[in-house]
Symmetry: C2
Subunit: 291 residues, 2 copies
């Protein structure tokens, strides 16, 4: 089959990015959300991205032409009409995802492929609700533009024919497709990132090194623009806390407890202006930080 029309469920940060890249790649796109305000946020996000890409001379078509391929709606039937492919980025909650997939499974055309963009849940947790588990798979974007990985992660009931089709779609969406051969929370990249962050957290709570020295070690040796605590500030300390507190080893529990003190003080990272560093000018970006 040929994918021509893409339906995006959820107009949040990630859904909007997948939608605009789909339109840039020439697909017809419908964007669904239950709230008009969410669609409005999505529309503004997409316009910002297009403006940035145009500034970088990365667009081959006028912005209006790209936007004209996108249809925003709060009506499920209109969103799913003629869709060949669905990518869902709704709230990261099993019950919400089950409900959404049950709803769209009942009204989608028979041909439609269903994919979820879940970050830490597994597709098998809600594949059955869709009514077509064999056509159901995780298809997980990172941030679409700076981090261009897309993970294809089948659950045990996904039909194997779906995999090459999704990998091909990933390439057309300007992503690097990665096959996650079996269900794994956090796919591949986040599993490694969490291991790095866990080690950094243990060095901090164990009083082996300071936030700054831990970040410096990583930045200087790998020539990277930020270290684990800078990364944590950009992810959000609340998100990191949710993942860390579910790990039962004592080092993770100690780090989760530390993260909680930041959260309770309203320091969630970049988005609140303070986390391990203060924004908009965090110490790690100062020229003398690694001198």
């Amino acid at each position: 089959m040929t994918i021509q029309k893409i339906c995006i469920l959820g107009a949040g940060t990630l859904g909007s990015r997948v939608a605009i890249q789909s339109a840039i790649s020439g697909y017809e796109v419908s964007v669904y959300d239950i709230h008009e305000e969410a669609l409005d946020f999505g529309f503004k996000t997409m316009k910002k991205i297009l403006a940035q890409l145009e500034k970088g001379q990365l667009l081959k078509e006028p912005q209006e032409k790209i936007l004209s391929r996108i249809y925003f709606t709060t009506a499920p039937e209109k969103a799913i009409q003629d869709a060949d492919f669905v990518n869902e980025s709704v709230t990261e909650d099993v019950e919400i995802k089950k409900k959404v997939w049950k709803q769209f499974g009942e009204i989608a055309p028979q041909k439609t492929i269903f994919t979820t963009n879940t970050s830490y849940l597994l597709p098998s947790m809600f594949a059955e609700e869709s009514g077509r588990p064999e056509k159901f798979c995780a298809f997980h974007f990172h941030d679409v533009f700076y981090s261009r990985i897309v993970d294809t992660m089948p659950h045990p009931g996904t039909e194997p024919e779906l995999i090459p089709l999704l990998e091909e779609l990933g390439r057309k969406l300007n992503q690097v497709p990665i096959l996650v051969k079996k269900e794994n929370p956090g796919y591949i990249f986040n599993t490694m990132l969490l291991a790095l962050i866990g080690a950094a957290g243990k060095l901090l709570t164990g009083e082996v090194g300071s936030v700054e020295d831990i970040d410096r070690s990583w930045m200087v040796n790998f020539h990277m623009p930020m270290g684990p605590f800078g990364i944590l500030d950009s992810i959000g300390l609340d998100t990191a806390w949710h993942v860390t507190k579910n790990r039962k080893d004592s080092a993770s529990q100690a780090f989760a407890a530390l993260l909680k003190t930041y959260i309770d003080a309203g320091k969630l990272g970049e988005k609140t202006g303070e986390g391990f560093y203060k924004y908009p000018h965090p110490a790690y970006k100062a020229p003398n930080f690694i001198k």
Copy 2:
């Protein structure tokens, strides 16, 4: 005190690099090794590094002038004469290090500061043998030129006054000094690197992803020139195996067993022409690897 003369024990890869950087920074340097051939290797290594630095217009003095500050010797008394500071990079073996430190502790001037460049051992394991544990500290370089971190890691008996002195010396040697506040095997960077490599190994032995897809995920998302398996090939699979097999969790044991099959087949990484990739043109360096 002012450090003017630096004594390097061990003319291997790392010792040679520390020695030549010391001479570049203007210090008088003596390089000691028990074998003449090792000194010869060290001299050649230093000349290669100087040639590369000159090519990159990174030298402020003629190569001959820099080399004229370095004295090579197999005589311990000559090496240690007038030395203000010793940095030891001999074989990574507790007994050998104990023996070397006992030997040099007996003949060194009273003023001399002793530091070890050990990678995974701890300074407290041989500080007493030196006869001056209060003047003994780990001072650990990475590769001196590409990875410019130097870790200052005291043992419980190190006198606190030594720390700022070593950090200042680190800066003069064009390094970024990191304080490792308490003894920790692998310091800060290697602790994090091992966590990353352990997670990658678990994804591979657990058949979640391929070597290539695991590396791709890291490279694309972090815009890095290599992923964990490329890094392993450059470290050497034998070194990685020694560290991994000492970890008792089942994932580390499974990964150590996999590494052993490579080692038994003579595939130690870049240095033998093959590891997870084939050299000199590993797949991860091909332009289409992340497309």
